[in-house]
Amino acid sequence: TVGAVAVDCTGNVACATSTGGIRNKMVGRVGDSPVIGAGGYADNFSGAVSCTGHGESILKVTLARHILSYMEQGKTAAEASELALQHMGVRVRGAGGAIVVSPSGQWAATFTTERMAWAAVEDSVLWYGLDPNE
């Protein structure tokens, strides 16, 4: 799965997610990626999210919208994504990751899997990582 979130210079946010699913999936199986509120969500009121990980788990907790609901309660992008991913781990034992950006430009890349390749550009500065806590 791949995804992107962005905020432009006028404060508008957007998200996109794209995937081939999981190897050997049943014909017709659809995971979280194309489902609004699960694989992605964007709202100028709270922010934009793109998710990756175990699709059925992400669907059950509507992960993207869950992260944004925490942000609407005042959590930072990093706190919100960590809390929502922890919730998914506890409730349905699913692992995954998310990238988040707020309308003010605050951002996070968080995951509970072994690794997630991510990159961000803020003010022309490139940030990137693969392993936890990078």
Partner: protein, 167 residues
């Protein structure tokens, strides 16, 4: 305000031999998306551009390089959403499309619907002139080999979902 773009290339147990190419791929996609923002483009154009870059990169499980289903076929899913209007478009189980994210955007902009699936998504693609590609063009040798290796062990793969294998 300063524009920001963040991209991911999937959360899973990325093996060491794929790690450098994965990081290089997300860095290139982030730069591609940011170049759109830097030219004054909007957030929607930037995320589409960044995701297209990764769909075109064989390293990632989307577009070119996608995983194979139980019949050895490629079925692709994508979504795009505009936070300004809550407009959203998605496609699921679509075949022979190199850049599903752009087809999802067309669903958002050219139809009254939020998601089109399977044959309907492909019929819509054809109706708006989206070029199709042969399945083989989307499948890497690595993925074909991994699929051949694992196709008889679906139960094991399911049990391994949470530690190794993900969308």
């Amino acid at each position: 305000m300063a524009a920001v773009i963040v991209v991911h290339g999937g959360a899973w147990a990325i093996p060491e031999e794929l790690s450098k190419a994965s990081v290089d791929g997300v860095k290139a996609a982030a730069r591609e998306g940011f170049s759109v923002l830097k030219r004054g483009g909007n957030a929607l154009d930037a995320v589409e551009s960044a995701v297209r870059a990764m769909e075109d990169n064989n390293m990632f499980n989307a577009g070119h390089g996608a995983a194979l289903n139980s019949e050895g076929e490629v079925e692709l899913d994508a979504i795009i959403m505009d936070g300004r209007t809550l407009a959203s478009g998605a496609v699921s189980s679509v075949k022979n499309i190199a850049n599903p994210v752009s087809l999802a955007r067309a669903v958002m902009e050219k139809t009254d619907h939020v998601m089109l699936t399977s044959r309907g998504a492909n019929m819509f693609a054809e109706s708006i002139g989206v070029v199709t590609v042969p399945t083989d063009a989307l499948v890497t040798e690595y993925e074909r080999n991994e699929w051949e290796k694992h196709k008889n062990y679906i139960t094991g793969v399911m049990e391994d979902f949470n530690t190794k294998a993900h969308d």
